[in-house]
Amino acid sequence: MAALLTLDSLAVARGGIAILEGVSFALGAGQALVLRGPNGCGKTTLLRTVAGLQPPLAGRILASPDIIAYGAHADGLKATLSVSENLAFWAAIYGQSHRLAPALAAMNLEALAARAAMSLSAGQKRRLGLARLLVTGRPVWVLDEPTVSLDGASVALFATALRAHLAEGGAALIATHIDIGVGEAVTLDLTALKARSPEAGGVRGGFDEAFT
């Protein structure tokens, strides 16, 4: 089975300083990988690199174009639009408008559909942010702390959605501190992959990083 997403000895930098190196793994259909590590160890930076928001310092990311759906800390919601308008926008961007109703149902947002996003609670906003993943129709979810501010029932909702996604041949790369309740997920601890200093043979993060 061909891997959907392969990282080949990837090194990533934040602010011109290498923070992770030698990250290698392959993610195939139906697999979920959970990234763990202390604050500031480079989980978010790694996810942003995989999502294509910043270039890797070294190494390669092998993935077909347009397969990654990125879910960041921020949900990208517009306060003055309603729940369904927010979601319909992303569904239209990804050309998947038929997924709108199932996504609302999967995240238990149907009762809130007409509510303006500004009047949602933090957990409800998060659920709307996660529903966005369902309307992208993309196979690889790259998620940054997806279950922050969710209650137990909502975490279970997310776990159900994630299992369904994996069962359909999707994959997920998730950075989290909280147990997401998907037992089959493999865990990768990033602590051991902390970048060495350049003197010790690590990758040097150039000053001109922004211009390459």
């Binding site: 960041a72 639009l81 319909a88 926008f89 961007i93």
Partner: protein, 218 residues
Amino acid sequence: MIALLLRDLRLAVRAGGGFGLSLAFFLIVTVLVPFGVGPEGGTLARIAPGILWVGALLACLLSLDRIFALDFEDGSLDLLATAPIPMEAVVSIKAFAHWLTTGLPLVLAAPVFGVLLNLPGPAYPWLVLSLAIGTPALSVLGAFGAALTVGLKRGGLLLSLLVLPLYVPTLLFGAELIKRGAEGGATAVPMLFLAGITAACIALVPFASAAAIRVNLR
């Protein structure tokens, strides 16, 4: 892409979207200038084209920092960058939405404001024409400035300093077009220059804006 345009337009007219703000600012400028300059009709009529164009420029500037800053703050710019639309298209559409909510109302309302400045009669069609041709360049160049300053706190002032010099050619030819039109002179040259500047901006500047956004998102 239509979805993005519709969303931006919808956000602009919802509460706090800032639609109409530029128009109100334009109105205030054109009301204040006669108070400052004095009531002599001749003086006003002579400076009216310039005042109207400077007013349009400043009104346009007011809402520029919102083009990307709001999307950056709530995280949707990151998500748009990973969406299946090229960043160049995102930038162009957001600039177009900005023009529809700022530039177009100015074009349509300008004749009314021209009355306040005692603009001579033959100048009115040229006023509308020059603003219609010139203001798209203001939005596109403004989007470039907004893209450069997107990650900065209080980037609005820096944005003005960056963008206003870029507006000079449009201002020169726009005001010149109205002046010549009012006097019945040859209008082809300033009109072609104005249109050429706008066309070049629309064609080229989105690439620079998209590159600036990509660097700022890192």
